[in-house]
Subunit: 449 residues, 2 copies
């Protein structure tokens, strides 16, 4: 059995839904279909979820939102109309939506979560109806009925472990199961949504629950690319990569999807196949636990800006037991998380995301690090980018570091930091943000051209 | 004014003492002479300090040690005799030594410290007498009289801050001050010795106290070499290096002298000149705060074995606030100090000195790291060597890393770890111990040949 999940752009219009139907029925193993809300049909279009958020916000402010409500319903209606579905499904959607809009607003977070979740929920109803209209048995399944229980954290719900056993029973259902992504129910019967990429999370949870042989994730790109296409024109596609490689790439800004969304599938050892709804004949990218074949030691190059570094120096630091631990305690006390902490003999550097820092935090932090630790010098540097060269096969490959460092050197890029050796899967270079793109291009050329 | 310190091999025989005398009187600024105990005259010779340790140990065991005592006294007597010194000085040394041997043994550490310190103390008396015999006013000064006070930690005494003010008054003494290295006095009037390189420490303390313009450290090598001569034949000499470079090199096994011995001079901003007693006309090596001139970005290459690495991996580690801090707490709890802690996204590596670990500590540690932190995997790797490429000018020099990594790659050496970016003064490579020498040679060839 396969779990197949479609993203918003794959479900944005009747044309797209016809492709989706074809894909699903093309393989009888595709029994579990997890769906997003209708996404953008064209670049300037508005996603249904965004319409819903505006709509909910207005109602919470006590305003009317007739136009927004109409816009939401029109999206479903135009799809239903074009697909030639009967009135029944739209009547149900309209009735449910009106009821929802006027529901209890005493807890605004819960109200918003209900409104947001309706985007996926109504789409699942509509898609099930469409499949049936095509002569295929398909049923909308409500997450509460299926037993997808989550913590009571609106907007960042976590799945409860018992859900997997409940979902396992979905196998007994007749026909195709159409399941709305993005949300589950608390034990009190309240809707609670996942964080970003919420439909990806639902797909991974369902895949885990039903013990799927593969979790197919259909989106609007042909594959995961070896490098950001905004930086390198027409980059190579990755046929196969491991979870760890995926995660390292995601960390440094790869956004095909949010790696943590895969955790439930990862835990169950289920491979994830990323494919394009518009070109399902292409192989796409497969994310797996281990891989044998390799198309070179480096699988991809990623980068992300927005880091800063704090450099602390103190003579005889390495003789001072507990120095590193005290530095980390000061960071924790300031509510900051750090990314890396390379250390020398008399110095250490903390790399952290800049968006955690404001002037006040920065001043306080520098003051603590200087005075509480009696440091000789504390220097903060802003606008650092991390560039990652990722590939599981690198570990046993003498010379990858040399090639990478030389490529950067030839491009006249100064390396502020190297982090190699902890992760066996990546080498990380710290460079100034202004050199980020140049660095990525230099490394791509070295390893892929 | 200059403080000039001579090591044991510079003071091992009458021939050596004549060279020393010539060096001292050659520059009227050389007023403060700090001396070690007589060292080896030839490769198989025994240092006076080692004779004294054996001698003290035997007495503590209640045995006699007539031969050892005689050997000690003979060393001084043969020097005194050859230098044509009168009986007076040897009579004093013999009397003092006999008294010392039979002194109170209720505190064995203090007894040993007194015995050990006599090596330097008697040599200072002898050298002062020799200088006077040559017509130069010179006086032995006892550290207690000079106010060199230290903590009550036999074998690892620390200087007390008030000593510097006391020593400042040494300037008022007439003639040349001959000062024994290696020990000071507690406030209770007990002798307490410094750790290894104790005479270097005394020299640095005196230099700080008298505000010397330079601390000249005479030894038996022409200079600090750019690499260990046991690994590379006839390596380049370093004309000038900074304290920080010196310290980075010392850390990785450079043993010209123990960098921490320089701390008192470093704190007072006093340059250290390393010279060869046997070839004083050579420029030697100057250790300074900052340097302008540079003979290339890399000043030296050092290496040291005996490290191990502990690799910890846990999925989503970087989201876990306090993970690094808890790792360091576990290490502290086990009484272990770590050297470096490179971290990836889901993993971190701890580099520590292997000699801290026995099987029991290792098992306990691995167990704690695995279970208390719920890590996915904890792997320890032994026999790691760290190879350091050191030079202050590297920071602004694009391409040093590339050259270093390429040199290692060309020599088919796998880089287990790179640590660059915290220290602005060095790049550190972790390699297997079996590749250590090969790595050092490859890097030396790259940067110096």
């Amino acid at each position: 059995m396969k779990v197949i999940k479609f993203g918003g752009s794959s479900l944005a219009s009747a044309t797209q839904l016809k492709k989706v139907y074809k894909i699903v029925v093309d393989d009888p193993k595709r029994k579990f279909v997890v769906v997003s809300a209708p996404g953008k049909r064209f670049a300037e279009d508005v996603k249904v979820t965004d319409l819903l958020i505006d709509c909910g916000a207005k109602h919470l402010l006590g305003e009317t939102a007739t136009e927004l409500e109409q816009a939401v319903l029109t999206r479903y209606a135009s799809i239903a109309d074009e697909l030639g579905l009967g009135h029944e499904v739209m009547e149900r959607i309209e009735r449910d939506f009106k009821e929802l809009i006027s529901s209890d607003k005493t807890n605004p977070d819960r109200y918003m979560d209900r409104i947001k979740a309706s985007g996926e929920d109504n789409n699942a109803k509509l898609i099930a109806a469409f499949f049936r209209s095509q002569g295929t048995e398909a049923h909308y399944v409500n997450p509460q009925d299926a037993g997808l229980f989550v913590t009571d954290e609106p907007g960042s719900a976590q799945v409860l472990p018992e859900s997997y056993e409940n979902l396992y029973r979905l196998q007994d259902r007749d026909g195709i199961v159409v399941f709305p992504g993005f949300f589950g129910y608390t034990k009190d019967g309240e809707i609670s949504t996942f964080s970003r990429s919420g439909s990806d999370i639902t797909g991974a949870i369902v895949a885990n629950g039903v013990k799927a042989e593969v979790y197919e994730n259909f989106t609007d790109v042909d594959a995961v690319y070896a490098v950001n296409p905004a930086i390198v024109h027409k980059p190579k596609e990755i046929i196969e990569l491991t979870y760890r490689e995926m995660r390292e790439l995601s960390y440094a800004g790869f956004s095909v999807f949010h790696d943590e969304a895969l955790v439930p599938a990862f835990q169950a050892g289920i491979p994830v196949q990323i494919k394009n709804t518009n070109r399902p004949e292409l192989p796409g990218t497969r994310v797996i636990h281990r891989r044998e074949a390799t198309n070179g030691p480096v699988v991809g190059i990623a980068s992300d800006g927005g880091f800063c570094s704090i450099y602390i120096t103190k003579y005889l630091m390495n003789r001072e037991i507990g120095f590193g631990r005290r530095v980390l305690e000061i960071l924790e006390g300031a509510g900051l998380t750090y990314e890396h902490m390379p250390s020398g003999i008399d110095d250490l550097t903390i790399i952290l995301r800049e968006n955690q820092m404001d002037c006040h935090t920065e001043d306080t932090l520098l003051d603590c690090l200087k005075n509480e630790l009696s440091s000789d010098e504390v220097v903060i540097e802003h606008k650092i980018a991390l560039v990652m060269v990722v590939g599981e096969a690198m570990k046993h490959n003498v010379g990858i570091t040399a090639r990478a460092a030389k490529a950067l050197s030839d491009a006249k890029i100064n390396i502020e930091m190297i982090n190699q050796g902890s992760s066996e899967v990546s080498i990380m270079f710290g460079v100034k943000e202004e050199s980020e793109k140049k660095a990525v291009r230099a490394l791509y050329n070295e390893f892929f051209n």
